[in-house]
Symmetry: C2
Subunit: 239 residues, 2 copies
DNA sequence: TTGTTTAATTGGTCATGTCCAGTGTTGGTA
DNA sequence: TACCAACACTGGACATGACCAATTAAACAA
């Protein structure tokens, strides 16, 4: 099962195997004990524990001292769940998600974005978000040029951009910073989306980086106050 | 330095020591290497690594392969940082935080809160939040009665409620769910805080549970759109 | 001087082994 | 039957030791 000649660390390989078995429904409820994994995959307990701990941190597994390790009943939404898919958020509200590409072009960045990202130029992508065909917000994305030119080769309508980044461009997102504030829509958006004057917005600014802390994206999104909320589930182990 | 007869795990003790030295400014920039900690505190490297990893997960430290471990310049706000202390959030905005108890009493819960928490009765605490003596929002807390009656024995002005829960009542917070939405202030709050009509609010609903998934608190907070933002920094390791 | 090799240091990975601390079962005793 | 002690699991906490991989600076060669 595990490939010792692979450059990928054993505990990562094992983690992926466990994760896969959970997704496939092979593991439900209690999973094998650490010592069972040792025997089955011929690795040390420290390797097993590290694999499991990664999944615990991600909220996929839960450990109970003296009992065992279990698949989380209600997996904690990790940041990917929150950040990447507005699509998921919309689905959780019981509505049909949608997105429509408005425009995309190469542009100079504003001083504000430049200060945040260090990018002098960026590829700009603007999309409108829908829930049950009702426009609920506008997303403005700014990518480093190399990434942007690759992205626009795909159909950006209805696509999940984070999915494209990760699964098609092979970019591994690693950390994010999100600021949520209140405000009003830009005039150009308000007119375009035919929203009544004074419609307030939830504004989300996101900065996404990869493992090397390289900027992958800067995003500023405006959502209709009355139609959109952010839901954040987090957990943490204490000493 | 480390107490072997203490029931507290060594890596936790070490973690606390490192954390303290960071707070005291003894550690800035690069901290000693793992092997140096081994020698100084006479513990194994696995113990050192576990202590350090805890702090890395909390965003206090950053590790650079081949270089060393460093105090995070801009520590990642973990959920405690976000959830527990509005105080911290306000301080990060460069303002002086404050809180004022408005009222507290035992009450029946609304159907909405009952559905969310399963509590038929709850102890209600309402506080106003200040930044530089300017009111920025209102927090409504609902606690299970046992917890509420203990809480009100303390001075709830300017206190950090999460701090009271954890460090004085000995309640270990374990997970939280937070929903952020936009809306308007309640009339009673708007009048009380002398806010202009139409001032919009960022609304945060929080449900906090302990390790056993028991409800510790339900909170609904209203913050002024123009004076308050949520900042969320998250990171995750990928396979 | 400039570029390259070497060595030392750091964190990353993994194995092996020991003991402790919860949890549940099982079997015997009152 | 009801209770309790022993035992067999589970994960938690360490120690020790080995080797790998990234980084950097010092020594060396062109």
């Amino acid at each position: 099962m595990l490939d010792y000649n692979n450059s990928i660390a054993l505990h990562i390989q094992l983690k992926n195997i466990i994760e896969k078995k959970i997704e496939e429904g092979i593991f439900t409820g209690q999973i094998p004990s650490e010592r069972q994994f040792m025997e089955e995959y011929h690795v040390s307990r420290s390797t097993v524990r590290e694999a499991i701990n990664l999944l615990v941190r991600e909220g996929v597994l839960e450990k109970k001292h003296g009992k065992g390790t279990f698949v989380s009943l209600k997996p904690i939404q990790d940041w990917l769940g929150n950040l990447s898919s507005t699509t998921d958020t919309i689905m959780q509200m019981g509505k049909k998600p949608g997105a429509q590409l408005v425009t995309h072009y190469l542009t100079e960045t504003t001083p504000y974005i430049q200060e945040k990202t260090g990018l002098k130029d960026a590829y700009f992508i603007k999309r409108i978000r829908f829930a049950d065909d009702m426009p609920i917000g506008v997303e403005r994305h700014y990518y480093p040029i190399e990434i942007g030119v690759k992205l626009i080769k795909y159909d950006l309508n209805d696509a999940t951009l984070y999915d494209l980044l990760e699964n098609h461009l092979g970019i591994r997102l690693a950390e994010a910073e999100q600021t949520i504030s209140g405000g009003i829509f830009l005039d150009e958006d308000r007119e375009f989306m035919k929203m009544p004057n004074g419609t307030n917005a939830l504004i989300a600014e996101r900065i996404i980086r990869d493992r090397n802390r390289e900027i992958i994206e800067f995003e500023k999104a405006f959502y209709r106050n009355d139609l959109y909320t952010f839901k954040i589930n987090l957990s943490r182990k204490f000493g």
